[in-house]
Amino acid sequence: MSAVLDIIASAGLWAAVLRIATPLILGTLGALLSERSGVLNLGIEGIMTFGAMIGWLSVYHGADLWTGFLVAALAGALFGLLHAVLTVTLGLSQHVSGLGVTLFASSFSYYVFRLAVPVAGTPPTIKPFQPIAIPGLSDLPFVGPAFFAQTPPTYVAILLALVLAYLVFRTPLGLAIRMTGENPHAAEAQGINPMVVRYGAVMAGSALMAMAGAFLTLSAFNSFFPTMVQGRGWICIALVVFASWRPERALLGALLFAFFDGFQLRLQTVLGGAVPYQLFLMIPYILSIAALAVMARRARVPQALMQPYRRGER
């Protein structure tokens, strides 16, 4: 029991929580934005993988770290465009199209990576983002090292969650997105073009997903390897439901989730050996499923989610 308290009382845990949460925040926001407009994007896992690969590769070839992020975001938007053509223009099954995008984006990532970086004993590395201590705040005892000595993308992710919460609920654009997700026919009657809104939301959302992936290779680690996304994309999809499609709750959900994840990582070292490590690694996935089971009925799903919109059809 005291071991548990020791873990929670260590600043290292809380610093890790923010680090673990960052890709989840970005990915969840991306999925949320897309779903708010009525399009489920299961391409997330593959788009994250591609973002991680292309962001890393850009930096490896001499781009600076922020350019790497930008390249990842643009590439993500292109995959979003693909998903939007399939699901918005053609109105295909969002489930199947998204899985197709995931399979394509991840295999394409591995292909490009293998072409660009021949097989080597140790994977090549880049110099990732370094933590930036926020002047003043980072000197505070405990709170400082725990919360105010993160890498820049973490601060950006948290800021983005707040910006998105404002955008979705306090601006005309956000209203248009939500209307399109609830009732595209009504949106159209108000002079909003649901097609344009959905294209925009899916592409912007996919850009966020790719940035989530890029965080893994540009900040959390310093190299790319296949399967490194490890289902984080699917966890984000679950977190959107848990957050009831609200950006501020997505932020909280991701942090809560990251807390459990960071906690289990440290518990592993404490209990080391006594309990198989795989049991700990299962926790995030099982938690996601549990969160879905608890929240699915209560959550207010956007009413037009997964329904293609065809002008002139009922």
């Binding site: 693909l82 591995y110 879905l292």
Partner: protein, 349 residues
């Protein structure tokens, strides 16, 4: 420009759809190969040669097709009833580990004639159980099964990893996490000497035939289809929706579990965490390419196996990453979706 629903679908077009889709996928992948600085046509020729150029490679391709046909059937039967089972990978691993455990701890001394059928059933049961959990969550709490089945894949593989690291670990494997081997009597008979081709392929094809019959000629097949096309309408027409979905889940999870069982009993003899190079996920493509038709799955499973086996040989000869096979398979899924769309709609100005 807008899309207009076709009054009727020309039969020729429906038959040609997968071919057009695959051709389009190969064309796009050809560009990717060309960008890598290799002639695309030669690469495809080498893929064919790599898959069918010798007796060994041909049997290897057929061996590889076996789990793909089974996971393809698993996806096809579920998707037809709009049960989104994306958990084939996890179900495959549970089927595999179940077989390894049962044969090394429980019934390893049974004669082949009893042990093999028993193990196949146990493997299928393990896959079933893993799919019944997300189905229960969907029916009880209306949780989307796509995400839960996907997440359970990771749980299942970790579970298998834990078992082969601890209680089922093979002590003679030099510390590698590898399960104890199944008994010799548990291994499926070979179809051809000096090859890995085994009875699993026959099992897969027979099951495809059975499934084709069940889906088109039985009340259950009709109900499952109705449940997929329009669940509300199906309920009004007297289809027991929950029960139908449970049966569909049992078949689908069972087939995926069987894929794992067959892979262990036919090829590997034991379980590691790289038993499957994503057979569960590829099964989704196999099913979609076949337009969810069980007999078509046999052909598209073979196509997918051809790509995977052939790409290995091509990769060694030309220096193109063998991941191109995964790219082709994924692209085929996307082009197939578009192609199917255009059998249903036409463009009008």
């Amino acid at each position: 420009m807008r899309f207009e629903r076709r009054e009727h679908r020309p039969v020729a077009l429906v038959v040609a759809t997968p071919l057009i889709a695959v051709a389009a996928a190969l064309a796009i992948a050809g560009i990717l190969i060309a960008i890598a600085g290799a002639p695309a046509l030669e690469a495809y020729w080498r893929i064919l040669k790599g898959a069918y150029g010798s007796r060994l490679s041909t049997t290897e391709t057929l061996t590889r097709a076996t789990p793909l046909i089974l996971t393809g059937l698993a996806a096809a039967v579920a998707f037809r009833a709009r049960l989104w089972n994306i958990g084939g990978e996890g179900q495959l691993y549970l089927g595999a580990i179940m077989v390894a455990w049962a044969s090394s701890h429980l019934i390893g001394s049974w004669p082949s004639a009893l042990q093999i059928p028993a193990l196949l059933i146990l493997g299928a049961l393990a896959g079933m159980v893993l799919l019944l959990v997300p189905l229960w969550l969907r029916l009880r709490f209306s949780v989307d099964e796509v995400v839960t089945t996907l997440l359970l894949n990771f749980v299942a593989v970790l579970f298998v990893s834990m078992l082969i690291d601890t209680v089922l670990k093979d002590p003679t494997a030099f510390g590698w996490p590898q399960s104890q081997s199944v008994a010799d009597a548990a291994m499926l008979p070979k179809l051809l000497a000096r090859s890995r081709l085994n009875l699993g392929l026959v099992i897969a094809i027979v099951l495809a035939l059975v499934l084709a019959f069940v889906q088109s000629r039985t009340v259950f097949g009709m109900r499952a289809r109705a449940a997929g096309l329009n669940p509300t309408g199906a309920v009004f027409a007297g289809v027991p929706l929950g029960r139908t979905l449970v049966i569909v889940a049992c078949i689908s999870g069972g087939l995926a579990g069987l894929a794992g069982a067959v892979e262990v009993m036919g090829v590997k003899g034991y379980v590691t965490t790289d038993l499957s190079p994503g057979y569960g996920y590829s099964g989704i493509v196999v099913a979609m390419l076949a337009n969810l038709n069980p007999l078509g799955v046999v052909l598209t499973g073979l196509f997918t196996a051809t790509m995977f086996v052939g790409a290995d040989g091509m990769s060694r000869a030309m220096g193109i990453p063998s991941y191109i096979a995964d790219v082709i398979v994924a692209l085929s899924l996307l082009t197939m979706l578009v192609a199917v769309f255009f059998t249903q709609y036409r463009i009008r100005r």
